[in-house]
């Protein structure tokens, strides 16, 4: 599946408090969270964001808390995927579990600028930066994780395994 959108570019160590501040998490209102996505790092994000856009950042994206609301709010904002040089481990798991596409490519993450137009093929991991006319390849997922992704996330994966074992 090919996804196309513009890049919203950030640097290293974008933490989960920047993605969705804890002060908004005492409610369970997903649409309410969307208005505050990336608020403390980029106050114009919610306004500028167009459905299908990408978040691009360098190292350790999603560090900090275990809040699953971080990948949830990114997905609910209409972001097609996150491209980073590297991801913090809990964010990585959460994204896989809830089905937010994530791609690890230091080359693509470093070269991409705010507003660049990107085209991403999730099945091959190919990232094309149309503004720079460059192509990059994201690291493939290990087979185990691919199994979860292909089932559509951890819930469906577990449900199936549980039924098979019964």
């Amino acid at each position: 599946m090919k996804l196309k959108g513009r890049a919203h570019k950030y640097g290293a160590d974008v933490n989960t408090d920047l993605i969705i501040p804890a002060r908004y998490l005492h409610t369970d209102d997903r649409t309410g969270w969307v208005a505050h996505c990336m608020e403390d790092i980029d106050s114009e994000f919610a306004e500028r964001m167009k459905k299908g856009d990408f978040i691009v950042a360098t190292t350790n994206f999603g560090c900090g808390s275990s809040r699953e609301q971080a990948p949830i709010v990114i997905k609910a904002s209409g972001v097609s995927g996150v491209i980073a040089s590297s991801f913090a481990r809990i964010f990585f798991r959460n994204a896989i579990n809830i089905g937010l596409p994530i791609l690890e490519s230091p080359e693509a993450a470093e070269a991409t600028r705010m507003g660049d137009e990107l085209e991403v093929d999730l099945s091959t991991g190919e990232i094309r930066n149309l503004s720079l006319n460059k192509t990059y390849h994201a690291q493939p997922f290990p087979d185990f994780m691919r199994g979860i992704i292909e089932k559509g996330g951890l819930i469906a994966y577990t449900r199936e395994r549980h039924k098979a074992n019964r």
Partner: protein, 418 residues
């Protein structure tokens, strides 16, 4: 094998495991605080599994926005209470428990050699007992509660060896801040940290909990201590349940071994707005503070309050400072009361609160306005963490925080007590 590998191997029915290997491990304990419980319950219902795998091994506690700060947080706490009752799970409501990562070990729920998962990144705190304790998101925790299993990728282990005797006023907090300052917030990303050396043997359990608590701040999956006499005494005093201790083999593999000589180390402070922005307290400069917070899952234990009381007893909190002290649990609160610590804090002009995570994440009980600055014994100083995105948080030990409360600026305990 090292400690992490031994625990994971024992929990997936294998003789040995290799870093990078994917394994399904059985879980000894799974827990969630009230703020994350709604998402956990939502995921649990979607699994179409009716009951938790073992109600004695599934724990809920109300700590983040509790006592309820407003109607939405009251609804979250209510949802949690009802789910815990429905499942017959272990449950700690307001007035009966406290901050999850202080509470879990104190209640004897965490044991050496266990695999523990919690819907909070600071679940790694119980690594101080030699448990493979790690934080995960709500979906993972729902799966753990429903099936008693989680998937893991076996992490490589980084060994940190601390040589020398702990200098005066240098605590576990200073050592872990120093370590994160050295390796960075992703210095142990995806890895297990194993803490060793003479200084770790000297460190009491409360200091070890503080160090393990902040392993996540270096990106680690877990921060592990080897079981020793201090661990055994702690377990004997807290539930006294049987356990298996795993020590690293002599030929255990480590991705890297990092050694520190700590004899000349000063108390450390993490400046805004990342926990790796660490300087010795003498090099922080003249930084005025509006608020001091002492407590939290990082430093809300009895030894932490004793350290704060050494500075605050018989002194006054600076007129321009609000000092908020939060014992981690009801038991810590009661012990502090009986030792006279609470009276010392109140006479010094500090506000003493019931256990809550409140100010650490900018939820309630000490939220900062724009332009305000706090010294906190918590674990994160990200932008907006304690309130306004235009406020600032400095991280420090209870002794440095209490000294700063007296001085009205960031300072060392030595400036207050000769």
């Amino acid at each position: 094998m090292n400690i992490a590998e031994k625990i994971l191997a024992a929990h997936c029915g294998k003789k040995s495991v290799e870093p990078g290997e994917f394994v399904n491990v059985s879980v000894d304990l799974a827990f969630a605080q009230e703020g994350m419980t709604p998402l956990v319950v939502e995921a649990f219902r979607q699994l179409e599994i009716d009951r938790v795998f073992d109600p004695r091994k599934v724990v809920f506690m109300a700590d983040h926005s509790c006592p309820n700060k407003d109607i939405p947080s009251a609804e979250q706490a209510k949802l949690q209470r009802e789910f815990a009752r429905e499942q017959g799970a272990v449950y700690y409501d307001v007035g009966r428990g406290g901050i999850e990562h202080v509470l879990i070990p104190e209640e004897g729920l965490a044991l050496p050699g266990q695999v523990i998962v919690g819907a909070d990144s600071h679940t790694c705190t119980s690594g101080a007992l030699g448990a493979f304790a790690t934080g995960m998101g709500a979906t993972d925790i729902a799966v753990a509660m429903a099936t008693g299993q989680v998937w893991m990728r076996v992490p490589p282990t980084l060994k940190f060896v601390y040589h020398g005797k702990l200098p005066k006023w240098v605590s576990g907090k200073d050592l872990i801040l120093y370590t994160i300052g050295d390796i960075g917030v992703d210095g142990a990303r995806y890895s297990a940290m194993e803490f060793a050396g003479e200084a770790m043997s000297e460190l009491d359990m409360d200091g070890r909990f503080t160090m393990a608590n902040m392993a996540i701040e270096a990106g680690a999956k877990v921060g592990l201590f080897q079981v020793d006499e201090k661990t055994r005494k702690y377990i004997a005093d807290h539930g006294n349940r049987p356990f298996t201790a795993y020590a690293p083999d002599k030929d255990a593999r480590y991705e890297n071994v990092i050694e520190y000589d700590i004899e000349t180390l000063e108390p450390q402070v993490a400046l805004p707005s990342i926990p790796s922005n660490v300087k010795p307290v003498s090099r922080v400069g003249d930084v005025r503070v509006d608020q001091v917070v002492i407590g939290m899952c990082t430093n809300g234990r009895l030894d932490d309050l004793r350290a704060a009381a050494q500075l605050l007893k018989g002194r006054k909190v600076h007129k321009d400072v609000r000092c908020i002290i939060i014992p981690g649990t009801q038991r810590v609160y009661l012990d502090a009361l009986q030792e006279g610590l609470v009276e010392a804090f109140i006479r010094a002009g500090a506000a003493v609160s019931t256990p809550t995570c409140g100010p650490c994440a900018g939820l309630h009980m000490g939220v900062l306005a724009a332009g305000e600055r706090a010294v906190s014994t918590s674990n994160r100083n990200f932008v907006g963490r304690m309130g306004s995105p235009k406020s600032e948080v400095y991280l420090a030990s209870p002794a440095v925080a209490a000294a700063s409360a007296v001085l009205g600026r960031i300072g060392s305990p030595g400036e207050v007590v000769s």
